[in-house]
């Protein structure tokens, strides 16, 4: 049975088309993916992402446990900072990718993918070091994402200026948003500026309604999972189960920046080293022929199969099809023309730089 987020009734009332996703009933769209996508690129959109998992790490051993469990390095991480990381199996395959928020020397807040939450928590429990208390608090927390160039104009109407996180990948805890206690971070999954806001379930509906009301003058509209996916794809942000999974190491999918091989040891370091220099890499593809690239389509050069698409869609911004693909590294040079098997048709596509879209600062 699928679960409902605390905002389920609001989605139904607003005409959201509800689909099961990662164990939850969530709106895939309200009016349409393209309109919602473009609202985020030009104005602002509001997403219910309450399905995401939240896990706390506390205690004297919390830092050592994170450094042991995760590929990134959390030593000397400033308070209020947010850091991306991967969590690997011993063989270097990927358990999940996640965000770590630091709120105290012995107090961390971790956000994981909804579909991986139980697997992640079990894996963390098995590998944490001494003096670390971990807790899965996902069921009591709602999360909304306010994303787009107008996000700051909207958020400053409902909270104190000094409580708004100023820099990308920073966060504040125990701040009031519309009078409700929240965690707010300057983060997102759309390629736009914006905020992710966490609050207790019982505040969710009030927060959602308040943001929509205050955002109206800035063109804010609710957005569904459909736009979330096309936005993250244009921004070349990876998604677990697509760009990475238990067979793919973070280095094989271009996440080197989140893997600190210089760190003394971490779960999966040996496995990554044993895999050697990665043979595959993640590239961006832009279609040349007419059609739409989708996930899990084979990529060819001539008769040689060189990999597969991991995510693909029609880009509402560029009005053409784009995809990410995991392919043999020797064909990854920009400008390379490949063929993708789209339901039995070979369509030409070009290797192009990622991200496809980068916002102007």
């Amino acid at each position: 049975m699928e679960l409902k987020t605390p905002l389920y009734d609001a989605h139904v009332k607003a005409g959201g088309r509800i689909v099961p996703f990662a164990g939850y009933l969530l709106p895939v769209q309200y009016e349409g993916v393209i309109a919602e996508h473009m609202a985020v690129r030009t104005e602002c959109g509001l997403f219910d992402v309450s399905h995401m998992g939240e896990i706390t790490f506390r205690g004297k051993g919390a830092l050592a446990s994170l450094n042991h469990l995760l590929t990134n390095d959390f030593t000397n991480m400033p308070l209020g900072k947010v850091r991306y990381s991967v969590m690997c199996y011993e063989d270097g395959g990927t358990v999940d990718d996640l965000l770590v928020y630091k709120f105290g020397e012995e107090d961390y807040f971790i956000v994981v993918n909804a579909s991986n939450r139980h697997k992640d928590f079990a894996f963390m429990k098995e590998h944490i070091l001494a003096d670390t208390e971990i807790e899965d608090i996902s069921d009591s927390i709602a999360q909304v994402a306010l994303q787009g160039p107008k996000a700051r104009d909207i958020i400053r109407k409902v909270m104190k200026e000094e409580d708004i996180p100023e820099k990308y990948y920073t966060a504040k805890r125990d701040v009031l948003v519309g009078g409700m206690n929240c965690i707010i971070s300057y983060t997102g999954y759309t390629g736009e500026a914006g905020y992710e806001i966490y609050t207790a379930n019982e505040n969710a509906m009030k927060l959602w309604d308040l943001l929509l009301k205050e955002g109206e003058e800035y063109g804010l509209r609710p957005c569904g999972l459909g736009a979330r996916d096309t936005l993250r794809l244009e921004a070349s942000m990876p998604l677990y189960g697509h760009e990475m999974d238990e067979t793919i190491s973070p280095l094989e999918t271009g996440l080197d920046f989140g893997v600190k091989m210089a760190k003394k040891d971490f779960v999966g370091k040996k496995g990554i080293l044993e895999r050697g220099e990665p043979k595959i890499t993640r590239v961006g593809l832009r279609i040349i022929d007419k059609g739409v690239l989708r996930e899990h389509q084979d990529v060819y050069i001539g008769e040689e199969k060189i990999g597969h698409t991991s995510s693909g869609t029609f880009s509402p911004l560029f009005k053409t099809s784009i995809a990410m693909a995991l392919i043999d590294k020797k064909y990854a040079e920009l400008g390379t023309v490949v063929e993708v098997d789209v339901r039995g048709r070979r369509l030409k596509a070009e290797v192009v730089p990622m991200p496809f879209y980068k916002r102007e600062k």
């Binding site: 349409g32 993916v33 393209i34 007419k290 059609g291 029609f314």
Partner: protein, 126 residues
């Protein structure tokens, strides 16, 4: 409620068909365009292609997904609507104007529903 004009016939797979001077005009229904969402690509067959009742003869891509379109009749493609290829959003905006193909030399039909029966089918799938 979805718009289902009385003068058309419908398939269970959500295509509409209308006979017009011996030609069978085929398109996608209101229910189908709504379910698909923003349509961004229509891959039409060529004039002269044979189509078979109940078999896929083209596909439409929305932002979210790809979907087959099944032919309501067996016959030969006499005309294709290039304006739909050039502007696939027409299918969302005017699905009964934005026809896909006209079929000639029709030799057979799939099981076709009248508007009332088709409306009931849509209601049961909602």
């Amino acid at each position: 409620m979805f718009n289902c004009p009385k003068e058309l016939k419908y398939t269970k797979t959500h295509e509409w068909v209308k006979e017009e001077n011996g030609l069978y005009v085929v398109g996608l229904t209101d229910y189908a365009q709504d379910a698909l969402g923003d349509i961004v690509f229509v891959n039409l067959p060529s004039v002269g292609d044979e189509v078979k009742a109940g078999e896929a003869f083209c596909d439409v891509e929305s932002v979210k997904a790809v979907s087959d379109v099944y032919s309501p009749v067996s016959g030969t493609v006499a005309e294709v609507n290039d304006t739909v290829t050039d502007d696939p959003a027409l299918v969302n905006n005017d699905c009964y104007g934005a026809w896909f193909v006209k079929v000639e030399n029709v030799t057979g039909e799939d099981e076709l529903l009248d508007a009332e029966a088709y409306e009931q089918l849509c209601a049961s799938e909602e």
